[in-house]
Subunit: 214 residues, 2 copies
Amino acid sequence: MILYDYWRSSSAWRVRIALHFKGLAFERRVVNLSKEVGEQHADAFAALNPSRQLPVLVIDDGAHTITQSMAIIAYLEERFPTPPLLPADPWLRARARQLAEMVNAGIQPLQNLSVLERAQAGGLDANEWARHYIARGLGELEIAAQATAGAFLVGDAPSIADVYLVPQLYNGRRRSVDLAPYPTLLRVEAACAALPAFAAAHPDAQSDAERPKT
Amino acid sequence: MILYDYWRSSSAWRVRIALHFKGLAFERRVVNLSKEVGEQHADAFAALNPSRQLPVLVIDDGAHTITQSMAIIAYLEERFPTPPLLPADPWLRARARQLAEMVNAGIQPLQNLSVLERAQAGGLDANEWARHYIARGLGELEIAAQATAGAFLVGDAPSIADVYLVPQLYNGRRRSVDLAPYPTLLRVEAACAALPAFAAAHPDAQSDAERPKT
C-alpha cells in the first residue's frame, strides 16, 4: 500500500495511526501542502485525487485509490481486523464512530486551511473562527465521551475515536485553544501517546517534519 | 427505535432513507429546528444530545443513543445487513463510503445553518459562501463518481453514497446552485427518486413538512 501523506495533515495523520496500529507495511509518498510549495496543486497529484486533498491510499498493486480518512480506515478495519479499531459491542461500535465523526465532520472541516483562508479573505479573523469551532467541538466531545470513556474514549482499548481525537487536540494547541476544560480528552491523549503506533504516526516522527530553526 | 428528526434536516433525512430502505419500523419525534422555534435548544433535547443536533437514534429500548448520521447508518448496516447499503467488494465498499464522506465531511458541515449564521454575522455573504462549498464539493463528487457509477453512484444498486447525495442536491437547489455541471449526480438522483424508500424519506413526505402558503 502507498499512502500519500504530509507530516502536518491531520487527516493523513489519522490514517498513519491506523496503519501503524495494525502493523501494516506501507510506502509513504510526501505531498508538501505548505503554502510555499503546494504540491497538491500539481497535475500529477490532481490525476490521483481531483479533490487535491490528503490522504490518498493506493491499494491493489496500484489499481485502486481511496480518499477520505473514514473510508480508508473502514477499509483497513475490514481487511485487517486485528487488532481492531472498533469494539465488538454494537452500541459501543456506534459510539466510537460517533465520537470520530464529531471530529471528522463536526470540527476539522471548519478549521482546515482552505476554509480559514476563505474566512480571512472575507475579513473574518481566521484564528478566532478556528478557535470557536475547535473549542465548541471539543466541549461536545468531552461531554459525549463520559458515556463510554475508560482508559481511552471508548472503554480500555484504543478505538477509531482516539485516532481522531489526537490530531484534533494538536490542531487545538496550534490555534492556542485552552484545553484545560477537556480533562477526559487530555487524559486519553496521554494514554495514546504512550502507545508505539501513536508515537510512530506523530508529525514530528515523519521524515518530512520541519525541525524548529536553531 | 426512535428517530429524533426534522423534515428539513439533511443529516436526519439520510437516516430516514436508510431506515426506510431496510424496511425498519421507527417512531419519529419531531424537533423543530426552524429559527422561530428552535426546539433543539430546549433542555429536554440537550439532555438527549448535548450537541443539540439532529439526528439522534434511540436504540435498545431507550437505553442508548447514537448521533452522527454516519455512525447511525453504520450501526443499521451491521445490525440489519439486508438489503445492504454497501457493496460486497472491498474497494467498492471503500468508494461508497468515500463518496458519502465527500458530502458528510466535505460539503455539509460548511453550509449548515449555524456556520452560515456565523459567516453572515462576520459580514460575509452567507449564500455566496454556501454556494461556493456546495458547487466545489459537487464538482469533486461528479469527477470521483466516474470511477464507479452505474445506475447509482456505485454500480447498479443504491448505496450509502446515494443516501448522502440526494439531500445535498436538495440543499444545492435551496441555495440556487446551478446543478447542470453534474449530469451524473442528477441522473443518479432521478434513479433514487423512483425508489419507494427515497420517496418515503423525502422532506415533503414528512408530517411536519411546511406546505407552501396558498
